[in-house]
């Protein structure tokens, strides 16, 4: 078992994934054996154990699979609260959690959303470790209709 892609410039590692995201590329791992989408990409498929993982661009659109709002945040994010959080199922079938730029009462399961990335806020930067400072934060915008 070896993989020569496990370097910080490879999207199979977190620095590589977030660098690509900052450059406008949203990449996922896709299992060559079972098709499972892995967000972020990683060297092995949790669904079947395969290590044949392809890195593929992911769609930024999807729908809300579950949602809530944080009323009691970590202290550094107090000024943001309440903020909306959702699990989003992308059009590729992959799922990931993220903030939604909308009031909780204005979104529902099944709503269409689109992902964008932004710089960390000062509060988020205060929580970031040194190696995370330049990593963008992803957020979902509701899509009308």
């Amino acid at each position: 078992m070896s993989d020569d892609r496990l370097t910080a410039d490879s999207p199979l590692t977190l620095p590589g994934f977030f660098d690509a995201l900052a450059d406008g590329e949203f990449l996922g791992g896709v299992c060559a054996d079972c098709g499972q989408v892995l967000l972020p990409p990683r060297p092995a498929c949790y669904a079947c154990g395969s290590r044949s993982i392809e890195v593929e661009a992911q769609p930024r659109t999807g729908e809300v699979y579950a949602c809530t709002a944080v009323h009691t945040p970590p202290p550094a994010l107090q000024s943001d609260a309440p903020y909306t959080i959702a699990v989003v199922e992308l059009d590729s079938g992959g799922r990931l959690t993220g903030r939604v730029d909308a009031q909780f009462d204005d979104i529902s399961i099944g709503d269409r959303v689109e992902m964008r990335v932004r710089e960390p806020t000062p509060g988020e930067r205060s929580l970031a470790l040194g190696h995370e400072l330049e990593w963008p934060v992803h957020i979902f915008d509701p899509l009308d209709g």
Binding site: A66, C67, T68, V70, T72, P75, T97, G98, I109
Partner: protein, 402 residues
């Protein structure tokens, strides 16, 4: 193989206390060993469930608790798995005794959650979630479980009022448990009118923050008989890890819990309908519903009926009584100690020491302790009343040895 049993138990008070973790542990240990030989004479290894070093800025909890117990020069380690740490410690103790490696092992858990206030606990618990995607999006423990609840209410006929009734039941049960953090019954309106924490979950859907410690001696049936203490046998143990990120799991079929339970049932030779009482990990009300389904007590989508009496539930439910201790919700949830507190409830129920909350005739108990939002890691133990000394091939001495 030796038959592992729980031979004695003890716990500190649960809630906001003046005592740091090691002193809470001492209180728990003193109760457990009252009237027995000292720990140094019975304990060959120590496992300590402990969620986070951030509360007290202290790791080395294995060494520290062994030292405070007066048990030096034995294997001792902290076990970590967020809220499942306590049951992971118990699992290690059971394995050591079953394997014949030690004939007495101390499984304990300790957490000083109130040390950093609510903000400190929020931060410490958030460390259980995926750093790359979840933490950086600002998730919290209540919001993670709220995502599960959101999906559960979407897919089933359950309502927020049903979840509230789970909290009501567990507060009622806690009122009969002298170990409980909360001793007063509540009504559904209290739950439904409490402040929103992460919709659909409200304050009274959430287990409280609290300090506490618990200690359990796992030994052989022979030694328990020699000590003259009531013992319960540990007949099955299962554990399973699922993904850290909630989004990457099945959010309404708690697969890790089902896998852990399947292993435990197989080891014990028992089925869900054989279980009389169960402590499932009701850190949030929705957990009791989801986990009742995962371990086979309830049909799919009907776990929310856990608050009803067995005869009032729909067909397909077993007769199990859930969270007789009051559960995490009302007995309390000092994270690392919780898995052992569940074991203490089973021990008391199965040895006739549960007082006014005793379930007559209870023979088998299931304990489910999980960490990292539902089934990131799950541990299931099945305990049975009436541990008998092994009648088969002797695998250890009957002497109390280290």
């Amino acid at each position: 193989m030796p038959q592992p049993v729980i031979a004695t138990v003890g716990a500190s008070p649960i809630g906001r206390t003046d005592l740091p973790g090691r002193d809470l542990f001492s209180v728990a240990l003193a109760e457990a060993f009252e009237g027995l030989p000292d720990p140094v004479d019975l304990v060959g290894a120590v496992y300590v469930g402990n969620q986070s070093e951030t509360y007290e800025h202290q790791i080395m909890q294995g060494t520290l608790m062994a030292e405070w117990a007066g048990v030096g020069m034995v294997p001792a380690e902290r076990v970590e798995g967020c809220a499942a740490a306590g049951a992971l410690a118990l699992r290690h103790a059971v394995k050591d005794v079953r394997n014949g490696e030690h004939d007495g092992v101390l499984a304990c858990g300790v957490e000083k959650m109130t040390a950093g206030g609510t903000g400190g606990a929020t931060d410490a618990l958030s460390a259980a979630f995926d750093r790359a995607i979840e933490q950086r999006s600002g998730v919290t423990a209540p919001s993670q479980y709220a995502l599960l609840a959101s999906r559960y209410l979407h897919e089933t006929e359950a309502t927020e009022a049903d979840l509230a009734e789970i909290a009501v039941k567990n507060h009622t049960n806690a009122a009969a448990n002298p170990r409980a953090q909360f001793s007063e019954a509540i009504d559904a309106e209290t739950v439904l009118d409490s402040p929103t924490v992460a919709p659909p979950l409200k304050l009274y859907d959430c287990a409280p923050v609290g300090d506490g410690a618990a200690a359990v001696l796992v030994t052989t049936a022979e030694i328990a008989a020699d000590l003259g203490v009531p013992a319960v046998s540990v007949d099955g143990v299962g554990a399973a890890a699922n993904n850290v990120a909630v989004a990457e799991r099945d959010m309404t079929h708690i697969e890790g819990a089902a896998a852990a339970a399947e292993t435990a049932y197989a080891e014990a030779g028992l089925a869900p309908e054989d279980i009389d009482i169960a402590e499932v990990h009701d850190a949030f009300t929705v957990c009791e519903a989801l986990l009742s389904e995962a371990v086979g007590f309830a049909p799919e989508g009907l776990g929310y009926q856990s608050h009803l009496s067995p005869e009032a539930r729909d067909d397909g439910w077993t007769d199990v009584e859930l969270s007789t201790s009051g559960g995490l919700k009302a007995r309390g949830h000092p994270i690392g100690a919780t898995g052992l507190l569940q074991a203490i409830e089973a021990y008391e129920q199965l040895t006739g020491a549960a007082g006014g909350r005793a379930l007559d005739g209870a023979e088998h108990a299931l304990l489910l302790n999980e960490g990292g939002v539902a089934d990131a890691v799950t541990v299931v133990h099945i305990l049975s009343a009436g541990a008998e000394p092994d009648s088969g091939v002797a695998t250890g001495t009957k002497e109390v040895t280290r």
